[in-house]
Symmetry: C2
Subunit: 224 residues, 2 copies
């Protein structure tokens, strides 16, 4: 039995969200085609992806929504309470700290850090901002395994190293730099600038096409 492909894993949260929506609508069974419709994913791919879970659907009926939700929660570890430390209380850090949606994924941002003396000691969403000097110790003492980096790029590497020293095992990095960390540390890179560049490229394509003005319009379908 092979392990789940990365793209499939990335689609599971999508299914989870649509299933939760269906649950709110009191829908008890959903076929792969209906679920696919809701997520914009082909039905076959839905089935293939879900086949990596132990939970099975029922032929002729579909998937039991509540059961599948429960299995996805277990598989994705959403039910486990996970404490996280966030470093860098700028506008993005503050936004993440205040965002209420993470709770339903089991994530609690329990401590905030910054190196700006003006911010240290202030409160954000009821949590005190600590100095980064205390990062390693505090994280270790609290047994925190997840770190979120929302600092400028220049200091992200140093922060990551302190996180590793504090025994953090997974880092969600919003700073636009490649972090150099030991192999056993999982880094999830969040790159808004990269997304933006892809968007920008597409807009440029539009311009190029419109300048060529209906002359060379072949089957050059852009990326979806």
């Amino acid at each position: 039995m092979r392990s789940i492909p990365k793209p499939s894993l990335a689609r599971l949260p999508l299914y989870y969200r649509c299933l939760m929506e269906a649950l709110r609508q009191n829908i008890t069974y959903l076929s792969s085609s209906e679920l696919g419709e809701r997520c914009g994913v082909p039905a076959v791919q839905v089935r293939k992806d879900l086949s990596y879970l132990s939970q099975k659907g029922r032929s002729g009926v579909g998937y039991n929504v509540a059961d599948l939700v429960a299995h996805l929660e277990a598989y994705l570890g959403l039910a486990n309470e996970k404490d996280a430390a966030l470093v860098g209380v700028g506008s993005l850090g503050r936004a993440l700290a205040l965002y209420p949606g993470f709770g339903s994924y089991g994530l609690q941002i329990v401590t905030l850090f910054d190196n700006d003396p003006l911010k240290v000691g202030s409160e954000v969403g009821g949590r005190t901002v600590f100095s980064v000097d205390r990062l390693t110790n505090l994280v270790r003492r609290l047994g925190i395994r997840i770190g979120i980096i929302t600092t400028p790029a220049a200091v992200a590497q140093a922060v990551a190293e302190e996180m590793v020293a504090g025994d953090i095992k997974a880092i969600w990095n919003f700073a636009p730099v490649l972090l150099d960390v030991p192999d056993d540390i999982f880094v999830k890179q969040e790159d808004l600038a990269a997304s933006l560049a892809v968007l920008s490229h597409h807009i440029r394509q539009l311009k190029v096409v419109s300048e060529h003005d209906e002359i060379e319009v072949t089957a050059s379908n852009a990326c979806g």
Copy 2:
């Protein structure tokens, strides 16, 4: 000549950033292996990706940093000034509106919208917040082609429709819903919850492994 694969396109911004960094360090030439090192990408892949651009490297030397930067800027359309409208001035919307980094990618968030009467008329980063009622007209009048959605999921679809009515061609969607828009509208979905779920899954794997306690530790290498 085939068009660039999506994963390659997504890596170009990465190269761009590393090249800018090199430029600051007064490096004039960079080989594919050096560039790859800096971005965490194999050298061959760097070469393959860059081969989709018209700009060529020099055998035995590498790529001219300044030239390549210029070509990437052109290819990605970063030099073109792009105006964008942002809808949903919550904590995330505010963070994006205040983020200074987009400027270097040619993006200017020129107008802000919200449906909360308390927010309408207030200022964020020197820009007045307008009522969403005026979205379609204002966007059309200003010729804005990019929309950014940072509203709650429930209203995202309605906002997207108004954007389309206002002749917006590309949408950067931070709301966790699948937008139903015409085929010619480009949607770049930004899904923090999905990233979080992947992170969560990895943390869970850690737990499972440590519970099995060195017994069944096979070659089950987790995703990078």
